[in-house]
Symmetry: C2
Subunit: 396 residues, 2 copies
């Protein structure tokens, strides 16, 4: 019965329009091919024989390639099982390291972070830490003044998403880094560390992690046309965090477990593509995005844009339609052939159809009436024209 | 330069004999094929549109298939990134759950466990828990009498590997389970839980986890001709553990992070093959194993077997050659075309060429002089004859 559904779905020319690239990206064909090539390098890299040596060298080769894209050294790249594990490693790893040095380690983040940051913060509080959630502006931008005021002697980590996955607002990471740097030099402290979640931004924002002034940076294969179940964390040399997964001491002790070479190959190739295509694809999508926003706002007088126009991911369109039931509209649009989202996927899971991100930017009434359209490589301006037609049927 | 090495290695008919299947297994061709088929089901299972529904249904379908093999219900299957994460989840998850209920949660395991159990135990001690390492017999069998004596009011978990990955000794899990069950009923306690690490045994020992009397059970794709970076933990209904990775609440809250469907597909197919082939392949390898042990012991008078003859994995041969430098011998055998190991891979990584497992069974002088040969599907009796010839050159 299931196989049946599967075949029916993929055998028919579906003609559907996918507008949820922030939820998940398809895997690039060249990525799949290169992963296939490496299926034969299956040996445990920790052995002492030729097959193992080859696996170990492959691992070093791909680690070096990732490091090159990120402009960091290869020993600063720690492979993980994805973005969620990466954020957990950065936050819980810092907490577990400092909790023996500082009675109550203090963390600062924003109220609009992804659940893989916010839920970890709850766990940190449960384990005895302290968390400050910074408010954001009506455009979703974190206030650096508030950040500066929140820094305390026991602050060990500031964690900020490079851009918000729902409303696409890009944060001023450079300014945040400068404030932390000044604070550290004034207080002669080696902390707080700055962690940036770049899981959802690698296709569009700078991958020059080495110049970003961060201590920890999360990347995820699932959001960059790469495989799921693999990602990496940049851990700047000298940054003291404890692992969250213990065992054989792989990844220089930061992450135990037999290395998933095939996944790492896929992640690396996808990351290199992201790097190469970034500027062109960002320009292309920015045009489509701006066309979409302009046309939707014009066609629906009771609609407004959520998030910043200026500091916005090139692929993010998030619109509030006054009085709309966004959950129901998502289902209706699905029936019309459009895959869209009304909040981030990880929120959908919680059976709460309202968006905490949109509430946090002061849009209480928009929190259940907003739709997110996130563009990707298969989208064209024509998709937007078709979307408008569909929206006219759905939005009354 | 690297690509060169890669091509040279795989283009030449290598004619090598691989005897480290306990270190890692190649991925089955049919597994790779089925994973490829599912690359197109890329959507985030948490969405509300058709592609997401299909991903969600696929996930349920494969979870149900895993549950069927394990004779458990599908809600008791929690997908992970592999065996190491699985063991961490079982142990640290239990610790974090109980540390607020019991001042010093107590854990019992054996001195010969895999590093992904022993290193977690060290972390549990660091976080304020208490750990008892049970001794084992000269054959590597855990003493159930010692276990019974070690149980205390604050014991929350007993963790035992189903079989040892170095010396292949199978543990009496049934007896262990019975002792714990009696203790719980006598003390009217819902704990200690019994956790069994079955990562390395799925190809040969019973997969009827539902009947094994355990609360937590770890499986790993990398050891069953499946993909790396994926595995699962059986968490018996009602077992209270905390997650170790927090976020969107996937896997019923036990393990957050976008589900790695393609990996899960590969894991499931590999597990089904393991289940189907288990009896026949166990019989076949037992014959080769016994032939190997007999022939080696006959040809090398100063050699002896490590571990139990009777309670032994069908694919494990671990021999102590008096006075041999096992590390050097591994390298020499590699030059002669054999891939073997002198301890488990995760120990090799620690730059310590002696085996703590063999020390624990009283083989101090054997701990640096033992070689492990682990068989798999491509091995035949002829490989053993060739191995003996090679050993004659290496063992003086």
């Amino acid at each position: 019965m299931f196989a049946d559904l599967f075949n029916r779905f993929f055998s028919s020319k579906s003609g559907r329009i996918y507008l949820d690239y922030a939820g998940s990206t398809p895997v690039d064909f060249s990525v799949v091919k290169e992963m296939e090539n490496f299926q034969k390098v299956f040996s445990n890299p920790s052995g002492l024989y030729k097959e193992s040596m080859l696996a170990k060298e492959s691992l070093t080769d791909f680690r070096t390639r990732v490091a090159k894209v990120l402009n960091v050294t290869k020993n600063e790249v720690v492979f993980t099982s994805g973005g969620t594990e990466g954020n957990n490693m950065a936050l819980l790893g810092t907490f577990e390291k400092f909790k023996t040095k500082i009675f109550t380690p203090h963390f600062i983040t924003t109220s609009i972070e992804h659940s893989s940051t916010l839920e970890v913060c709850k766990e940190i509080e449960r384990r005895g830490g302290e968390v400050t959630l910074l408010p954001v502006s009506v455009e979703g931008v974190v206030s650096v003044t508030e950040l500066e005021k929140s820094l305390k002697d026991n602050t060990v980590l500031v964690s900020i998403g490079y851009a918000n996955s729902e409303i696409g607002t890009i944060q001023p990471i450079g300014d945040v880094g400068k404030i932390i740097k000044d604070w550290k030099s004034k207080n002669r402290n080696s902390y707080p560390y700055l962690h940036v979640d770049g899981s959802g931004t690698s296709l569009y924002l700078s991958l020059d992690v080495g110049r970003l002034g961060v201590d920890l940076y999360t990347l995820d294969g699932a959001k960059i046309y790469g495989p799921k179940g693999v990602g990496c964390v940049f851990v700047k040399a000298g940054t003291e965090i404890r692992p969250i997964i213990f065992g054989g001491g792989q990844e220089r002790g930061f992450r135990s477990g037999t290395e998933n070479l095939v996944g790492i190959v896929g992640f690396t190739v996808a990351l290199e593509h992201a790097h190469k295509d970034r500027e062109l694809e960002s320009s292309r999508l920015t045009l489509i995005r701006d066309y979409a926003i302009e046309t939707i706002l014009k066609n629906f007088p009771d609609s407004k844009i959520n998030g910043s126009i200026k500091h916005r991911l090139p692929n993010n369109i998030n619109i509030c339609f006054k009085g709309l039931d966004a959950e129901f509209a998502t289902i209706q649009l699905d029936l019309l052939g459009f895959s869209v989202s009304y909040s981030s996927s990880c929120v959908t899971l919680k059976d709460d159809s309202s968006s905490y991100v949109i509430r946090a930017i002061g849009g209480e009434e928009c929190s259940k009436s907003s739709l997110r359209f996130t563009l990707g490589r298969d989208n064209t301006k024509k998709d937007i024209d078709l979307l408008i037609l569909a929206l006219k049927k759905v939005v009354k």
